[in-house]
């Protein structure tokens, strides 16, 4: 992995400009960050109320289910008590992966992407639950901010400065493959119990990517390694097109036209809605950053519910 080399960007921002722009994003999302923090506090933290559980010889409360076997065993099976269990402290590593490709500039999704970063970074730092990293992707993957560095306002400005939205490809497959490696390395470095470390990737992109089958496979692999991947589709172009009465631009309207060989060997044209083959299980479409706290919290809550059920 290489760090983004700001030198190869022609119309590169000065650090002062980047600070100014980052500060604008931070202030425009300040109130929303509070809302998101409250949502996430409920979702991310384990239930603080302690539960009574277990089978012990001594304890606080009798386990009613154990009483009959206890008597039936002539008082030999005497682990009939429950104790309070202390909830374990989870920690989080969250990676924001931002689409640095040209299509983001075309669809005017850049602003919305940075508002999302400012929002999530602020909420994470207020929660004090873990480490944050930011990567940019397009043709390749570049680390704009690593897990081991605290995410301050100055770090935000540095991150801001490193994006050009000029990469001429959007290789999401490579993003996933390399992020899995990054998460593995970060897990090894993390303090505390690995089983209480939760890893989450938020991909912020206009959502246009190719090679859905191999992406799907990598999403599955990430899931097996307990890395949750949430894809946030910033659909900024939709609103603009609607307002100006221009041609439809939303990802919801996007269709894929594919020529595939049928059983007789003839080429047939297949048309499907782009989102019907979208390879991510957890994705949300955001047209306005105002919507983000609620939908993001909703997606995470759903994921935690599933993890708890399957565990």
């Amino acid at each position: 992995h290489t760090h983004l080399d700001a030198d190869d960007v022609d119309d590169e921002l000065t650090i002062d400009q980047a600070r100014l722009l980052w500060a604008e994003h931070e202030s425009s999302t300040r109130n929303l960050a509070l809302v998101l923090t409250e949502h996430l506090r409920l979702v991310l933290q384990p239930t603080q109320a302690t539960k009574m559980r277990g089978d012990f010889r001594t304890g606080k409360r009798l386990n009613i289910k154990r009483i009959i076997p206890y008597i039936a065993s002539s008082y030999k099976r005497d682990k009939i008590w429950m104790r309070r269990s202390v909830p374990s402290k989870r920690s989080y590593q969250i990676m924001l992966a931002i689409d640095d490709s040209e299509s983001m500039a075309e669809s005017e999704s850049k602003q919305l992407a940075f508002e999302t970063v400012a929002l999530v970074a602020k909420a994470m730092s207020m929660l004090e639950v873990g480490e944050l990293s930011v990567v940019g992707f397009g043709e390749d993957v570049k680390i704009a901010h690593d897990f081991s560095t605290p995410f301050t306002s100055e770090a935000g400005a540095q991150v801001y400065k490193q994006f050009s939205f000029a990469q001429t490809r959007t290789n999401v497959r490579r993003l996933l493959a390399e992020s899995i490696e990054l998460f593995r390395a970060a897990r090894l470095k993390a303090a505390g119990s690995a089983s209480e470390l939760w890893q989450l990737q938020l991909i912020i992109s206009d959502g246009v990517c190719e090679d859905h089958p191999s992406i799907r496979q990598l999403v599955r692999q990430a899931h097996e390694e307990r890395i949750m991947v949430v894809f946030i589709v910033v659909d900024a172009a939709a609103q603009k097109a609607e307002a100006s009465g221009g041609p439809k631009q939303s990802i919801l309207d996007l269709q894929t036209a594919e020529f595939v060989k049928d059983q007789a060997g003839e080429m047939r044209l297949n048309m499907v809605k782009y989102l019907d083959t979208f390879p991510f299980d957890y994705y949300l479409i955001v047209r306005d950053v105002q919507e983000l706290p609620a939908v993001l919290a909703g997606a995470l809550r759903q994921w935690f519910a599933e993890v708890v059920e399957s565990g």
């Binding site: 490709s101 040209e102 299509s103 075309e106 043709e139 990469q167 001429t168 490809r169 959007t170 290789n171 490579r174 246009v208 190719e210 090679d211 041609p247 439809k248 631009q249 939303s250 309207d253 996007l254 269709q255 894929t256 036209a257 594919e258 020529f259 044209l269 048309m271 782009y274």
Partner: protein, 105 residues
Amino acid sequence: MTDVSAMQKQSQVRIHLHTRSGDIELPQDTGPILVSTELKRYQLSTLVNRLLETEQPVPLEFLINGQFLRTSLDEFLTRNGISAETTLSVEYVKALIPPLYVASY
């Protein structure tokens, strides 16, 4: 590093189809369509005819930035230095004379 040239064949591009001839206008605004950059005139013609739901296919020609498409989209993009990240505005017109390269289908 992964071989980039090997991955290029997977490329797709978003196109926005439009025409100036009222009789072959698409029934409704279709929105952007994602296609393989391997497509040539013939496949694009098939695509528009599908969208038009024509009984007899109308042979079509395609113009991008005022130039007739005579190669695959991929070649066109490369030659004109256009990235596949942009939405291509593709105009279609009825092919007046049957193209000479029919045999190459």
